[in-house]
Amino acid sequence: MTLMSATKGLCARTMMELDQSYSVLREYGSEQSLLSKPDGSSTFVQGDTSILAGVYGPAEVKVSKEIYDRATVEVLIQPKMGLPGVRERAREQCVRETCEAALLLTLHPRSSVTVILQVIHDDGSLLSCCLNAACMALMDAGLPMSHLFCSVTCAISKEGQIIIDPTARQEKECPALLTFAIDSAECNVLMSSTTGSFSVQELQQCIAISQKASEQIFQFYRDSVKRRYSKIK
């Protein structure tokens, strides 16, 4: 199997040299409104990675956490096994900052918006899947947002080529991993989380590839919402 993925990588590089627009995301899918208790819920599946998101909001907030002119966003990521640790806290911060940038928080002062994410299966691109699931759940809850957001993960392999939406095995082999959250209005980068070392050119290439791939995901958001609301007449 290692031979196979190496072959795919080789194919990718040649294809990139021949054709600049190489960006292949794994098969993705989503389902909304599957839980009865939360205000909004969704699952997002990318390849084998699967995340379940639930949103409560706008709801009551503890006096210690309330902000006088906007809503307080809380994000909780629950891993599949064991208790949440520092890694989950770091991811929660990334998701929270993206949500705060997208939501119109000033419409609900002294309230809370809670996003809870449960990891169902982790096969790479976990943070991206979390952000996509969170966005779909926020849409399902009907919370006012100034724009939608999606996320794409890029991995830079040892040979220097860029793999989009890597699996867990590819993530382990690659020395650098970059995750970007991109907004739907102007395709700007809302959040970036990177590990490993890479050059400035590689960073710019990754951003460009992520923005290109995000168009597919935004089209998927539009299609799924259209399909969902066309059934309700």
Binding site: M1, L3, M4, T7, K8, L10, C11, T14, L35, S36, K37, P38, S41, D48, S50, L52, G54, Y56, A59, E60, L76, Q78, K80, M81, G82, S112, T114, I116, Q118, I120, H121, D123
Partner: protein, 316 residues
């Protein structure tokens, strides 16, 4: 966040309806809601839907030194979490009474009933044993969390495969799933909890209460039983006094329900086995990838025998 409290008129309506043997969703007194059991990609990953109640369980194993008091037995660790997703009343990192009750009941049901053979989990006596960790996450609370959690836990344990090990003296080699097929746990029997809610000082009972019914109940009786009609644990809470024949009647109902649920679990496991064993058949087919790189054309196959074919470029 706080959950919306139950209004008095809702409470009176529910109690009146129960007196007339009517339930909110139209079920009969002894009916269970629809149970749906699905397994995930990993071994030991199970999701159970009991009506709208949704529970997710993951079983994992790792090698640890054993307890001093039991050097030849493996360790079972149970952890049930009430995810804040399940209900606005659940807060993270908060030891509520419900959480403690559920955890304790799950432990009694699965650990004290000795349904898993812990002796078979021993690798090197006194040094290395398998610790099987069962994590149950409650994702949506629509009543009867105990039953859903016990079904999810026992299904996940039956589904789980631990890695194969080889022992040479004191050296232990753990094989990855690709090297050697993982081994299932040895499970003697499948204990499943059945919950009975009592109303109006024990005069009326309902099987599988939903969330609204749970809020107006007086007391709860949980019977853990397996399909061989052996009672693994009984717990009565709420302070209601039950007659002997009431408890016996409940156990009879429980045995019927448990045999139905056990069959459902076995069917789900069988379906999952069929799906997993169809996949290797596809992998045996040779998957050939043609890669054009610069001047040469390489054909690399995905089969186990690494045959490399070299094609020659025809002169143009």
């Amino acid at each position: 966040m706080r959950d919306t409290p139950l209004s008095n008129c809702e409470r009176l309506f529910l109690l009146k309806a129960i007196e007339e043997k009517k339930r909110l969703d139209g079920r009969q007194t002894y009916d269970y809601r629809n149970i749906k059991i699905t397994f995930g990609t990993d071994y030991g990953c199970c999701s159970v839907e009991l009506g709208k109640t949704r529970v997710f369980c993951q079983v994992s194993g790792e090698l640890v030194p054993p307890k001093d008091s039991r050097p030849t037995e493996g360790i079972m660790f149970f952890n049930l979490e009430l995810s804040p997703m399940a209900s606005p009343a659940f807060e993270p990192n908060r030891q509520s009474e419900l959480l403690v009750t559920l955890n304790r009941q799950l432990e009694r049901c699965l650990r004290n009933s000795k349904c898993i053979d812990t002796e078979s989990l021993c690798v090197v006596s006194g040094e290395k044993v398998w610790q099987i960790r069962v994590d149950v996450h409650v994702l949506n609370h629509d009543g009867n969390l105990m039953d859903a959690a016990s079904i999810a836990a026992i299904s996940a344990l039956s589904h789980f495969r631990r890695p194969d090990v080889a022992i040479q003296g004191r050296d232990v080699t753990v094989f990855s799933p690709e090297e050697r097929d993982p081994i299932p746990l040895s499970i003697y029997h499948m204990p499943i909890c059945v919950s009975f809610a009592f109303f109006l000082q024990g005069s009326y009972l309902l099987v599988d209460p939903c969330e609204r019914e749970e809020r107006v109940k007086d007391g709860l009786l949980v019977i853990a039983m397996n399909k061989h009609r052996e009672i693994c644990s009984i717990q009565s809470s709420g302070g209601i006094m039950l007659l002997k024949d009431q408890v016996l009647r409940c156990s009879k109902i429980a045995s019927v329900k448990v045999s139905e649920i056990t069959e459902l679990i076995n069917k789900a496991l069988e379906n999952d086995r069929k799906i997993r064993y169809d996949v290797p058949l596809k992998q045996n087919r040779v998957c050939v990838c043609v890669c054009v790189c610069a001047d040469e054309v390489m054909v690399i196959s995905d089969s186990e025998e690494e045959e490399v074919f070299i094609l020659h470029e025809e002169a143009q």
